[in-house]
């Protein structure tokens, strides 16, 4: 199983330490790295906590984590859920030392929910102070509207109870009405505290108004104590249940809303035909969701392009200038998770291979973490889509390229094939002329030229054919061949002027090589023809083959003028002729580049060296084949 590291993010100042140690582990194991923060919708973080949280999220992103922001009041449950779905192997979390022993600490519950994962607990002294938060939260909970509603409902309930009491129905009905009242309060109001207050008030009112002695809080009949207790507990529990239900429904709808946004966005994106379109859809969607001005720049070759921005109706001010600077800094550093200035926040839209675009959001009034999460999710979705588009286009291009390549190869093949038949007639007739009119000098010269040129054309056709084979597929058909056979065959097909040179063959016995015979013969013919063409008549040309460790080295050596060092550098480039060819003898310069390609396809390289005292050595190796003599 591969490792997957999960780190729990929090607004604690020491959370950074935990993130770093998790990131180190992830880097060490080369494993995927996820950061998670569970937002409790019931609790609003204080401004500086929120800020620290954003910093920690940014840090995690920077260190390579994929940050997930989840919602729920039970962090352990949500984290465990994520950990299971991602097959997380190690969880890093901070915990105040004091809470470690507590039965329901986050760490203990995670241990219970995700028994497969290793859990690393890092002492965290500064983890958010719950009691303090509780108070901060409660202040907000007293909303006059909710209080008024609770009082009105309670008063209404009391009125109904009064009527029931007057009409001499059983007291049990009164209790039911009060339980109903606290249930209604719990549903209507935002916090369960109203339900609890209601339950308490109902108990007091029932005691005060409807039990003997009436209009006092005294109790004569001890049986009523049980009734009071049951009534209080029933309305308290009913209220709590109702408010929890409501909370769950709210959470679910919040999650559903976000899922819907992402889904709709995804559907919109599917319709994008190109990258520009994709970015525009993203920007439009974000503008609607965040109600802020959004701008983007496309990036090409690591440089930010032109700014795309939509002006909102009455506001016609230019987009904040600092965006440009931030964009440039983001382009320069591919690892930055984003950059924020005074007025704008710039986020990179980065695919698997490169940076596609930079998206900037005006940060007039800080983005809360929900908005931030939406923003980052949409950016991630957008970059995924851009990746898809890019990949699709690359595949298409590759297909076109392959088709072009095939067309080229087919063309070359049929061309060089069709060359041969007319060349047979041309060279054959020239040869016949040469044979039949030995005494006419002029005819001999013309026939000789025709023969030479058709020979050259044939050589070129052979090279084109070999090139179409090697370049279109890079595929060679090797078999075991005798080095000597290859060289002899090449000598036979070399230039017809070979008798003007002293060509010798020096080959060790029984040298077996693994080679594509046709192609290697073509290489040797090219090397021989070059040596014949570029050395004066009477020069020595020696072809050698000898064992060199587990390989067989071939050398074509001449004692001509040699090749200057600057020419050597470009010798194997395509369509480059040796400078000496400029004197009139044609050459496409195909021969040597073809030789290099063929030898390369055999997994070796071709080299050119100086001969002593003068001349050229062209040399290459081929894979040798061991041979044992079973029959001797």
């Amino acid at each position: 199983m591969t490792a997957h590291i999960l780190v729990c993010l929090s607004s604690s100042p020491s959370n950074a330490r935990i993130i770093r140690s998790a990131a180190r582990t992830a880097a060490l194991l080369h494993s995927p790295f996820t950061g998670v923060y569970v937002r409790d919708p019931q609790r609003k973080l204080k401004a500086d906590d929120e800020k620290r949280l954003q910093e920690n999220i940014a840090l995690a992103t920077e260190l390579g984590a994929q940050v997930e922001i989840l919602e729920g009041s039970d962090p352990a449950y949500r984290i465990a859920d994520l950990a299971r779905s991602r097959s997380v192997s190690e969880i890093f979390l901070g915990s105040p030392p004091s809470s470690l022993n507590a039965q329901n600490s986050l760490a203990n519950r995670l241990l219970e929910y995700v028994p497969d994962a290793e859990i690393h607990i890092i002492p965290d002294s500064g983890i958010e102070n719950r009691s303090q938060l509780q108070i901060a939260g409660q202040k907000k909970r007293f909303s006059p509207r909710d209080l008024l509603a609770a009082i009105l409902i309670e008063a209404g309930a009391t009125l109904i109870c009064w009527l029931i009491f007057l009409s001499q129905y059983e007291n049990a009905n009164i209790i039911t009405v009060y339980i109903l009242a606290s249930l209604i309060v719990s549903v209507v109001t935002a916090d369960r505290i109203y339900g609890a207050l209601c339950a308490f008030a109902s108990f007091l009112l029932f005691n005060f108004l409807f039990t003997e002695p009436r209009f006092t809080l005294l109790v004569y009949d001890t049986r009523y104590l049980v009734t009071y207790f049951v009534m209080f507990m029933a309305s308290l529990i009913a209220g709590t249940l109702a408010s929890r239900l409501k909370e769950n429904a709210r959470q679910a709808s919040a999650n559903a809303a976000r899922t819907r946004i992402l889904l709709e966005f995804n559907e919109d994106l599917q319709e994008a035909s190109d990258e520009e379109d994709c970015l525009e859809i993203t920007a439009r969607q974000l503008r609607e969701l965040l109600q802020r001005r959004i701008a983007f720049r496309r990036c090409e070759n690591g440089k930010p392009g032109e700014l795309h921005c939509w002006q909102e109706g009455e506001r016609n001010e230019p987009y904040p200038a600092e965006e440009k600077e931030l964009s440039e800094s983001l382009c320069a550093d591919p690892l930055l998770p984003g950059a924020s200035g005074e007025k704008v926040l710039v986020l990179p839209i980065r695919g698997s291979k490169h940076l596609y675009a930079l998206l900037s959001v005006e940060r007039e009034g800080e983005l809360d973490s929900y908005e931030d999460h939406i923003l980052r999710s949409l950016c991630a979705e957008c970059s995924l889509m851009l990746d898809n588009l890019t990949n699709a286009r690359e595949r298409e291009n590759a297909l076109i390229l392959a088709e072009n390549e095939k067309f080229r190869a087919d063309l070359l093949r049929s061309l060089s094939h069709d060359f041969r038949t007319p060349l047979t007639a041309i060279s054959g007739n020239a040869e016949s002329l040469l044979r039949s009119a030995p005494e006419e000098e002029e005819v001999r010269r013309i026939a000789g030229d025709i023969l030479d040129d058709s020979g050259w054309l044939n050589e070129m056709a052979e090279n084109l054919l070999a090139m179409s084979r090697i370049e279109s597929t890079q595929e060679i058909h090797t078999s075991v061949e005798l080095a000597e056979d290859l060289i002899r065959e090449a000598l036979e097909h070399a230039d017809r002027h070979k008798q003007d040179h002293q060509i010798t063959l020096q080959c060790e016995e029984d040298l077996l090589v693994e080679a594509d015979a046709r192609l290697i013969i073509q290489v040797l013919i090219n090397l021989l023809n070059n040596a014949i063409k570029y050395t004066p008549a009477g020069s020595e040309i020696r072809v050698e083959a000898f064992r060199e460790e587990d390989k067989v080295r071939f050398r074509v050596i001449d004692n001509g003028e040699g090749i200057s060092d600057e020419r050597k550098i470009h010798l194997f480039e395509r369509f480059r002729t040796d400078g000496r060819a400029a004197d009139g003898s044609r050459s496409l310069g195909l021969g040597l580049s073809l030789c290099a390609s063929i030898i390369q396809a055999h997994g070796e390289t071709i080299e050119v060296k100086d001969n002593e005292p003068h001349g050229t050595i062209v040399t290459f190796c081929l894979k040798g084949v061991d041979y044992e003599y079973p029959d001797r």
Partner: protein, 229 residues
């Protein structure tokens, strides 16, 4: 000597015709495969020069049809440099091949050597244990090979290879044919290596005599041939 030229390209047909005329051969020209089979049946040519790329039927089919009624040597002329075409043709019953563009000199040399072989085949007495080819002499009964009268020592495989080549002197024998005949097994890389090395060694032993130089021809990627002197 009567030769059938099967060639659809007019210039090449003319070239071959002119070459044959200059060397006093008789010839007919067939321009497609069907015509070729008809003429081969009606004129009974001594040698057939067959272009593989015919407009109507595949050259290999022509070889197979002709082999149904005639054992006349077939020299295949191919513009295709792919070895597999030539091997298919040789295995189908062709004796030799020429690759376009070929030289006139080469064409005449092939015709001469084929003609010599025809003489040998016609004068062949199957009972004769003696095979004589220039300075080379093989005595099948004594399993003895002499070169200029001197005995040369061959390994069993070399001897079998030589007798096989001698039996089909003048004809190009493909690698797969030789491997099947000598080793009786499916050819793989090690058998191929075996064949190459044994052939090279055999050739070295025979070419010790300057008179026998070039008697065994290597056709890289295709096969070997013992040239009939």
């Amino acid at each position: 000597m009567n030769i059938l030229i099967v060639e659809d390209d007019r210039s090449v047909a003319n070239l071959i015709a002119a070459t044959l005329r200059s060397s006093d051969y008789h010839y007919q020209i067939a321009q497609n495969g069907k015509e070729a089979i008809l003429q081969a049946a009606s004129h009974a040519p001594d040698i057939i020069l067959l272009d593989l790329g015919l407009p109507d039927i595949d050259g290999v089919e022509v070889i197979e049809s002709v082999r149904g009624f005639s054992q006349a040597p077939i020299i295949v002329i191919s513009a295709r440099s792919e070895d597999s075409d030539k091997i298919t043709a040789l295995d189908a019953g062709a004796d030799d091949y020429l690759t376009k563009p070929f030289s006139v000199e080469e064409l005449l040399a092939r015709l001469r050597s084929t003609a010599r072989r025809l003489q040998y085949v016609s004068s062949d007495e199957p009972a004769s244990p003696l095979f004589v080819n220039g300075v080379l002499q093989i005595d099948r009964d004594a399993q003895e090979v002499t070169l200029n009268g001197e005995i040369i020592h061959l390994t069993p495989v070399e001897y079998r290879l030589l007798t096989l080549l001698a039996q089909h002197a003048g004809k190009v024998l493909t690698h797969s044919y030789l491997m099947k005949e000598i080793w009786h097994c499916v050819p793989d890389e090690s058998v191929k290596a075996n064949l190459r090395v044994n052939m090279a060694s055999l050739r070295r032993k025979i070419e010790k005599s300057p008179d026998a130089r070039g008697m065994i021809q290597t056709h890289v990627g295709i096969g070997y041939r013992l040239l009939k002197y």
